[in-house]
């Protein structure tokens, strides 16, 4: 690594840390109803949304009806996206005449975009019309991210209110996140991306005669508008098959830097918003620091693995599946952040990463997407671990566990366990099934331990709602489309439902004032405990599976063995 590599990494984290309180404070104002910058611009649009949809913004609901609203809204979005894919040929904006999508691919894609996963079994440029990309996918990019924020807001209300059963209004949470945060940031970002060379048009594909006289068809489309929200909303679904490695999605090192920053921007800023909303900025920063440390550990291992020499390729820089303009450092920084943040967009092919770099990406997925994580989803997932840590610390010192002045009791711990187990069951059971069944093995692109890694990565990605892949796996089959689709549903709603249940139960409790005997959750000791609990839970669950995949592959590679 050169000095310039370190400068890029330091610049990246400096900007991320610097922007966290700025955007975090803005979001605090948006969610608490204070006056803010975007109110004069889009205030009328918020009122219009409520008027058009018949919503009473002042009416609040309990956790059950909040969950019900959320589920029905998501179901509507799923059905719409499913249908327009099946009927693509009959719909407008299809200049390159894409045909109807198969039922299982349409099912997978609809689930995938509704759950903020954006796993892609299909290739954008050869499968979907501009209509489906815009009216279907771009919309889900927005609302799936706002759904994540809404769940987080309900949880915050549950933690900060006392003796009530009301958690706010799903519709206003959804609307404000979309109109005041995602939409303005996306417009700005999309235009900047076009300035770097990302395409944004409604043309048919161009046919060109290359210098050597061959014919090349150059795909076009409204890409920038989708890429802006796919990065900001931790969605990750590319306009083109190669995702952010495609020169039309990510043409320059600067576009790459901004897209990477956009991956972590909102999830990081939400920790600050959280701290302010629960009444102590330190609570937010403690969680931020725990996330940052876990991310930096992963990044260090990845950089080490990618720059190390090995007997197979000697000292050759490992450029397979990487772009010249980004080089190794930017590819590894991206692979670490995109998997930490449940984004899943890629600027290098993860299948061709060094085994340990691929393993770090997988661990990020397996820990439940809580290292910054998805928009909203990362933080509510992290709070599940906070609850577990408080509970375990309480057991160790023999005191009844409390978080933010509220008692953690049997019900909360049960729900937290469900939320931790749901995605892990998906990963282990489905991976085991795929590894021993013919349709599962048929999709492999690599043999040996790396083949197993392809399967393990796929289900980790689905369960963590990430969407990145060891893309050699041919997953556009009935078996993978259906099992991965189910995995994504469990990984999303298997966490949302228990989180909202915890929110409801916490809202009803009293707040005990802090005393000298209170176990504090806003200091380095707690941060260390939190990191330990995350690593122990994740490590114990997944070490056996990882040792069959990337770990053994790393050892074999270092002995020069190929398959």
């Amino acid at each position: 690594m050169t000095t310039q590599d370190f400068i890029q990494i330091i610049l990246y984290f400096t900007l991320l840390i610097g922007l966290t309180p700025v955007l975090g404070n803005f979001m605090f104002k948006v969610f608490t109803g204070e006056k803010h910058l975007m109110l004069p611009v889009f205030g009328w649009l918020e009122r219009l949304t409520y008027k058009f949809s018949g919503i009473n913004p002042d009416k609040e609901s309990n956790w059950k009806s909040y969950t019900f609203d959320l589920l029905v809204f998501n179901l509507v979005g799923f059905l719409f996206l499913f249908l327009i894919q099946l009927l693509q040929t009959y719909l407008p904006f299809n200049p390159s005449h894409r045909t109807n999508v198969s039922w299982h691919s349409a099912f997978n894609t609809s689930v995938s975009f509704m759950t903020n996963t954006n796993w892609q079994g299909y290739s954008g440029e050869t499968t979907l019309s501009y209509f489906v990309q815009m009216v279907g996918l771009t919309v889900q990019n927005f609302v799936s991210a706002s759904t994540g924020i809404a769940v987080l807001l309900a949880l915050i209300k549950g933690l900060s209110r006392k003796t009530t059963d009301l958690l706010g209004n799903f519709w206003t949470d959804l609307t404000r996140s979309t109109l005041y945060i995602l939409l303005p940031l996306s417009i700005l970002f999309a235009v900047v991306l076009v300035g770097q060379g990302v395409v944004q048009n409604f043309k048919t594909y161009d046919t060109v005669q290359t210098l050597q006289g061959a014919t090349q068809i150059i795909p076009q489309g409204p890409a920038a508008s989708q890429i802006a929200i796919k990065q900001l909303g931790t969605n990750g679904g590319g306009f083109f098959n190669a995702n952010s490695a495609h020169p039309f999605e990510n043409p320059t090192p600067f576009s790459n830097f901004l897209e990477m920053l956009a991956i972590l921007l909102i999830p990081a800023a939400l920790t600050f918003t959280y701290g302010k909303m629960v009444g102590s900025a330190r609570e937010g920063w403690t969680i931020f620091m725990a996330m940052l440390i876990l991310l930096l550990i992963g990044l260090s291992i990845s950089l080490y693995a990618e720059y190390a020499s090995n007997p197979i390729f000697g000292k050759l820089a490992l450029m397979e599946g990487k772009e010249t303009r980004f080089g190794i450092t930017n590819s590894v920084l991206w692979s670490t952040t995109t998997t930490a943040a449940s984004n899943g967009s890629v600027n290098a092919m993860h299948d061709s990463l060094a085994p340990l770099t691929g393993m770090v990406a997988m661990i990020n997925l397996m820990l439940g997407e809580i290292i910054f994580g998805g928009v909203g989803a990362g933080l509510y997932g992290m709070i599940i671990f906070v609850i577990l840590t408080v509970f375990i610390a309480g057991l160790m010192v023999g005191r009844s566990p409390e978080y933010l002045g509220k008692k953690i009791q049997k019900f909360e711990v049960q729900m937290a366990i469900i939320a931790v187990l749901a995605p892990n069951l998906v990963i282990l059971i489905f991976s085991a099934w795929a590894s021993v069944s013919n349709p599962g093995l048929a999709g492999l692109n690599n043999s040996g331990p790396h083949g197993f890694s392809e399967i393990l990565y796929a289900y980790s990605s689905a369960a963590g709602n990430n969407g990145s892949a060891f893309a050699g796996l041919n997953a556009n089959t009935i078996f993978y489309n259906v099992t991965l689709g189910i995995g994504m549903l469990i990984g999303r709603f298997g966490i949302i439902a228990p989180v909202l249940a915890i929110a409801g139960s916490m809202a009803g409790k009293k707040i005990t004032p802090s005393s000298s005997g209170t176990f504090h959750t806003d200091n380095f000791l707690f941060m260390g405990l939190l990191i330990a609990v995350i690593l122990i839970v994740g490590g114990l669950t997944h070490f056996p599976a990882l040792s069959f995949g990337p770990i053994v592959e790393h050892l074999l590679m270092n002995n020069g063995i190929t398959f």
Partner: protein, 200 residues
């Protein structure tokens, strides 16, 4: 039932807003402010589109700088990489044979260190760039194929150096050179030389 009606209405509202108005609005601004970028940075030569500045092309002719290996042979429908893992024997074989090809094709010494982007396929399969070093290794072969004397060769070397892009804002990304743009320059140099000889 009430929830369902609200869901349908607000979903319709957001579909129009984020699925139609948002992309159309961004397209409008993009086409006004950066029309070339928004339409794919297409390069027009003699009223014909010869490619996009951003999308790499397959170059294997002796008179052109070669581009990177591509898992999709630079056919963008669809884009993608090889997705070979490092322990995949196919990857090892491919690297070995690409190395031999590059050495033979460019008449290089067997011990020459070949820049690794010429041995490994890119992520998109459409990578438009190679490193300066990879370009300079090809100059002798191109000059010979185009019947250029040592002056002509120097002009190509100068051209390669001139066309090398440094990291953006001096710190982002890597040194790189756009192969398609470089080859277009190469044709211009050659045309210039030929016209000189005919004048004489």
């Amino acid at each position: 039932m009430k929830t369902l009606i609200i869901s349908l209405k607000i979903f319709f509202f957001f579909t129009i807003l984020t699925g139609v108005i948002y992309p159309v609005f961004v397209t409008g601004i993009a086409q006004l402010t950066f029309p070339t970028n928004a339409n794919g940075n297409l390069i027009v030569k003699k009223n014909k589109i010869v490619g996009s500045k951003l999308i790499g092309q397959r170059f294997d002719s002796v008179i052109y700088f070669s581009s990177r290996p591509s898992a999709i042979s630079y056919n963008p429908l669809p884009s993608g990489g090889s997705n070979f893992g490092l322990t995949n024997v196919k990857l090892k074989h491919s690297v070995d044979s690409l190395k031999n090809q590059f050495i033979i094709f460019n008449h290089l010494d067997n011990n020459t260190t070949i820049p690794s982007e010429m041995l490994f396929a890119s992520a998109s399969g459409l990578d438009p760039h190679i490193s300066q070093k990879a370009a300079l290794l090809q100059v002798d072969r191109i000059a010979k194929a185009r019947n250029l004397n040592s002056d002509g060769k120097q002009i190509i070397i100068q051209c390669v150096k001139k066309m090398t892009e440094v990291p953006q804002f001096l710190c982002l990304g890597e040194d790189r050179i756009n192969v398609l743009v470089l080859n277009l320059e190469l044709d211009k140099i050659d045309a210039g030389n030929n016209s000189k000889t005919t004048n004489n």
